[in-house]
Subunit: 361 residues, 2 copies
């Protein structure tokens, strides 16, 4: 029988439709076959050598010592080894929001005004994760992933100085099918003058729980996930990756620090050290077991400039794009998940050897 499960973080009910269940291995991505891209693409504005085609960096991590080992490598690779940056953060050339000092600070609010509008105030940046056109996060070194994560924190802290900004939303679209219009590996950052509604919902739920139970909702969830283990995919000393109890879509996952931190702003130095290998490994598992599916990931954190919050716990959500979000989801704002979260976790944990067997059978 179909089961409804409530997402403890948002309060929404998800239909787990076992009658239409699909075996995990049937999800292997149905993405249009494309040739593997080369390490550098002349026409790509994010590739080394084309830095002048983008706005100037707001943050750049330069290589300490240039690596000039090039024996046996092609021209593109030689060039990439000579590139003097690891991560570049630049303003988006086609921003969804801009920072106009004359923009009114407060969003108008009224229950009865029919047509309320507001000058969009905000910042839209692109985090170019690597000089390599063809290396995604799962293929970078742990040190390189660390740098990408560090840039999230550094840009958040820098943007927090603008008191008109209330929230920084960092997200990643992997592949065209998941909304990436430029192939070169990158994340996006949108800094907003308001709190997005899904965050408001999570804050409110977490706050209610805290008032009633005296502890953090996500701390409690992580503890229970660790105790049962059935939905945990990966874990190390400081982070956990699991398929949540009411995952909205097949294989959607949460990665969170096991210790309580409400945002990147208040996370201690070195916070990214244990996250980088876990994130790299999790994305590697997705790529390996679901044939490199398109996906989105995004961070949910406390509002900007908020001191450590006892009730909110930052986390990263990863949503592989394996099914089409359609009329039902648009109409209701809820989801039908055709794969039980426990089965999804089992499948992602399965050693490669057994998996080959499962696929054959």
């Amino acid at each position: 029988m179909p089961i409804l499960r409530q997402d403890p973080l948002t309060g929404e009910w998800v239909i787990i439709a076992t009658e239409r269940a699909r075996r995990p291995e049937t999800f292997a991505s149905k993405v249009e076959e494309r040739e593997a891209p080369p390490p550098r693409v002349d026409s790509c504005p994010f590739c080394p050598g084309n830095e002048h085609q983008t706005p100037s960096e707001v943050l750049v991590y330069r290589k300490n010592g240039k690596n000039s080992e090039g024996a046996g490598k092609g021209v593109g690779e030689l060039y990439l080894d000579d590139t003097d940056w690891d991560v570049r953060v630049i303003p988006n050339k086609f921003p969804a929001l801009e920072r106009d000092p004359n923009a009114p600070r407060k969003m108008p609010s009224s229950r009865c005004e029919l047509f309320l509008s507001h000058q969009g105030y905000g910042v839209h940046e692109v985090i170019i994760e690597t000089p390599w056109h063809n290396r995604h996060l799962a293929e970078l070194s742990v040190r390189e992933v660390e740098m990408v994560l560090r840039s999230f924190q550094e840009r958040t802290k820098a943007l927090a100085r603008d008191v008109q900004l209330r929230y920084v939303q960092i997200f990643r679209n992997h592949k065209k099918e998941a909304g990436a219009s430029i192939e070169h590996p990158h994340c996006q950052l949108l800094a907003l003058s308001y709190i997005p509604p899904l965050l408001n919902k999570e804050y409110a739920r977490s706050h209610d729980f805290y008032l009633e139970e005296g502890r953090c909702l996500l701390c409690s969830l992580i503890e229970m996930e660790e105790a049962s283990g059935q939905r945990v995919v990966l874990q190390n000393d400081r982070y956990i990756a699991y398929i949540p109890f009411a995952a909205p879509l097949p294989f959607s996952a949460i990665i969170a620090p096991r210790e309580h931190y409400s945002s990147l702003e208040v996370s201690p130095a070195g916070w990214e050290k244990d996250l980088a290998p876990l994130l790299k490994r999790f994305l590697g598992i997705l790529a390996e077991k679901l044939e490199d599916p398109p996906y989105n990931f995004y961070l949910h954190v406390a509002p900007l400039r908020t001191p450590p919050l006892a009730y909110f716990h930052w986390h990263l959500e990863i949503i592989p794009k394996l099914t089409v979000v359609a009329g039902w989801e648009m109409a209701t704002g809820t989801f039908i998940n055709v794969t039980r979260p426990e089965e999804a976790a089992d499948y992602l944990r399965m050693p490669r050897k057994e998996m080959a067997g499962a696929l054959k059978s």
Copy 2:
């Protein structure tokens, strides 16, 4: 400069990103080219002659007089003219929800329970709109569209007799890219034991507005849309189709009765007469001007068995799938619309002749 607009029905802010604006004609659908399907497909369970492959009808509209004019038609078309039904409503063979008399009636509710689940109770039906495999709503006769609409009302009224059901969600997915897994033209109906969150949000906003202003929010919006005319696409005596002020995505539209009715249940006999030609025409315009894009549409109505509600006004929302819903939307629950609603309406209103000119320039 980018502009934020508040959706008066939901209260959410939409970013209208003029900096990344795309001219309406650049949206012409980028759907994989497929051969036009034939009028009947042997392997299609919804095609005439395969009725035994589906569960029995819960509602069927039979043809009054068989039309046997077949001169000059192919075998498939002859067969279709001989089919004795116009619309068939059947239980979904792979239901997302089922009606188990032993299912607990009330959804559990708690702010502090971590893992709440509930046996899914509900009904999942498919409305086969026509015997023709290759004729979508825009291509049916007005009389045939009327029958499809009438089936929405008739099934809603029938399901309302089950007091465990609280809401009927009717929706349509057009084309694979918008979630249609079967090509044969059909809608879906899900009857639920709870109110979906987007509906709750619309009810609450409309209710607040009613208490403060003493009138219906959507009645007020329609009046203002009619007065300005700038976002109206089509209108007849009883219905209006317009691009809302804060359309979440390019060309998303609302069709609503100009007179106040809160649901199909309480709509008077003949309610579908003026809607059928307007809906047919609107979908025809989308197909003509945006190269038959994938789309979703869905109804938003009052809860089941609710007497006429002064504060809520039923409507149909149509969302062409022209852009990819990606990390931003998943992260925040809000949208970035790259086409100003006024321009979208202009483009859809433009006579074909001028359009050809606009496309050339």
